[in-house]
């Protein structure tokens, strides 16, 4: 009879569930830790905050192309031996930690670190800047720029530290040859 069977199955499944919770109460260790005091040992290949070594970087923008969310902005200047990465920014508020950029890089210039505590007070701090900066003669021009630490539209459309002589910096994704 379905009715009686249902009642017994209800009781049985309740008991089963209670056994499971009791097992977790008594015999299972806590997974969570008391965070700022104790931190879990991270696995070796943990994908944390990205770090780019702009001395290794050739400016090929393969990483920026590989990025599904376009959070990497690369600008470079000069030709041949003078070619240098002037601007290399990663917007980690957009980054989704997929690691595709790391796989795309031929020079191992961009890497994931074990760092994961990325809270900050200013939104601009979420944009990690690894670029070598513009050449020295261009520096005064940049200094002349009025400082705008919190640009309202500082998503992918170029940060506040966009050099004035590079209008392409405002292009979405910053994919520039």
């Amino acid at each position: 009879m379905q009715y009686v069977e249902d009642i017994f199955r209800t009781l049985l499944t309740c008991a089963q569930g209670m056994r499971i919770t009791m097992r977790h109460l008594l015999f299972t260790d806590n997974i969570t830790v008391q965070y700022p005091d104790h931190k879990r040992v991270l696995p070796e290949r943990f994908r944390g905050v990205l770090h780019a070594d702009s001395t290794k970087c050739t400016g090929c923008t393969l990483c920026a192309r590989a990025c599904p969310v376009n959070c990497i902005i690369i600008e470079f200047e000069g030709k041949g031996k003078d070619r240098r990465v002037a601007r290399f920014e990663i917007d980690i508020s957009t980054c989704m930690w997929c690691g595709l950029c790391v796989e795309a890089c031929r020079e191992s210039a961009i890497e994931t670190t074990l760092e994961y505590e990325i809270s900050c007070y200013v939104q601009d701090d979420m944009r990690l800047k690894f670029g070598l900066g513009p050449k020295k003669e261009q520096l005064p021009a940049e200094r002349a720029e009025p400082p705008a630490p919190q640009a309202p539209s500082s998503g992918q459309t170029g940060g506040p530290s966009t050099p004035p002589e590079s209008p392409g910096g405002s292009a979405p994704g910053g994919q520039q040859p």
């Binding site: 009642i7 309740c14 569930g17 209670m18 977790h24 015999f27 299972t28 806590n30 997974i31 969570t32």
Partner: protein, 415 residues
């Protein structure tokens, strides 16, 4: 498993507390009505205070137990494993602002928490904490508990209506439907016990279960399957009566924000909280009184009785568990020397239990039931409202009726 005939009569007053509570009132009443009234008031306030302390403790325990069941840590910051949390929470609530929404029905909005709280706390008047420690041994004790529950219902509805908030109102409607339905199985399962005892007085019900055989005298083990079913019905319906998960549809936070106390804050909100936990205690205490022998202690010293096996078996299990825990946390496995120490400690605790007053037995049994409630809460999901009604009207009530009939026949032929 026929119980030894209960020795109904004047209980053996071996507890110091009971001796005090038996002779003090008569001594005080010889000094006039006012003195004894003041004494009664003090005892009542002590019960109130005790319940408040229990609520603080239960909230902390619930947080820790739920956390551990979900492999979390729970409160850890304030004090050792967050123990001081139970002092900090009420202080925080007391310091919060007491808000009243502009569109609310102000007088009843203000009044509702007090109605709920008063109704909850009034129930403790008939709870037999021990042979002498009962505020009022009414002839209609159990009926009184059932009737005071109606006050809680009205208070909740009052809160839900006066908030002038649609979720609160939905919650009020659900509360009415649910509580009115679940009163029936609770009442029917209470009646089975009342039929066995022949009295509504809570104290007499406990005395009827008092026997030399200890556990075998409990109503739970009478006519083996019958009263267990009765207890199960009582407990399930009692869970619904106190709005506990899995039956907390009145405050289902995924649907109705927080139900009837959506608009409340500060102390008034804490009154609802207090009342909810006090209600849990009431249902557990009532279950203890009706089925688990109330304050009757276990007779663990007599060898080869059921009590003996159950009690020492559980003690051994606990010793084994403590040893397991100890080796797991602090030491590598295989340190078997410790088990001797731990077993010794446990035996000491168990021996200490033998001399604890009946009040402690009562509290231990009630708190065990409360633990089961918490256990269930963190195990089961919440049913839909129609499933809830199905459970009540099509499962619990028929089962309770059949059970009542069986108990009636039993009572008629096998006294």
């Amino acid at each position: 498993m026929q119980p030894v005939t209960a020795s109904v009569g004047a209980p053996d007053l071996k507890d110091r507390l009971d001796v005090l509570l038996t002779y003090l009132p008569s001594f005080l009443s010889s000094h006039g009505e006012i003195v004894s009234a003041v004494f009664l008031l003090i005892v009542a306030l002590a019960v109130l205070l005790g319940v408040s302390v229990y609520v603080c403790l239960a909230v902390w325990l619930e947080r820790k137990i739920s956390a551990d069941m979900q492999d979390r840590l729970g409160p850890m910051r304030v004090g050792w494993h967050g123990v001081v949390q139970m002092l900090v929470d009420p202080v925080k609530l007391a310091l919060k602002e007491d808000l009243c929404p502009g569109a609310a029905d102000r007088p009843f909005f203000m009044l509702a928490p007090f109605v709920v709280l008063a109704a909850s706390f009034a129930t403790f008047a008939v709870m037999p904490f021990s042979a002498a420690f009962i505020l009022a041994d009414l002839d209609i004790g159990v009926l009184y508990v059932a009737s005071v529950g109606a006050g809680v219902l009205v208070g909740l509805v009052m809160a839900g209506w006066a908030s002038n908030n649609k979720w609160a109102l939905f919650s009020a409607i659900r509360t009415i439907a649910m509580l009115v339905s679940y009163e029936i199985p609770v009442g029917l399962s209470i009646v089975t016990v009342v039929m066995m005892v022949g009295s509504l007085s809570t104290q007499k019900i406990v005395l009827a279960q008092l026997s030399d055989a200890g556990m075998a005298g409990w109503h739970l083990f009478r006519f083996p399957p019958v009263f267990m079913v009765s207890f199960l019905v009582f407990f399930i319906a009692g869970l619904a009566e106190v709005n506990r998960t899995p039956f907390d549809l009145a405050e289902a936070d995924s649907e109705l924000v927080a139900g009837f106390h959506t608009e409340y804050s500060g102390m008034r909100w804490s009154f609802f909280f207090l009342a909810e936990y006090a209600d849990m205690l009431i249902v557990s205490m009532l279950g203890t009184v009706l089925y688990l022998g109330g304050w009757a202690p276990l007779t663990v010293t007599r060898p080869l009785t059921i009590d003996f096996w159950v009690f020492w078996g559980m003690a051994a299990l606990l010793a084994w568990y403590l040893h397991w825990l100890w080796t797991r946390i602090y030491l590598p496995r295989g340190e078997y020397g410790l088990i001797v120490v731990q077993t010794a400690i446990l035996i000491a605790i168990a021996l200490a239990l033998l001399v604890v007053p009946s009040l402690a037995w009562f509290l231990i049994k009630s708190l065990a039931l409360i633990f089961v409630m918490m256990w269930l809460r963190w195990t089961l999901p919440r049913p839909r409202i129609d499933q809830l009604m199905y459970l009540c009207w099509k499962v619990l009530i028929p089962v309770a009726f059949v059970n009542l009939f069986v108990v009636g026949v039993m009572r008629l032929y096998w006294r």
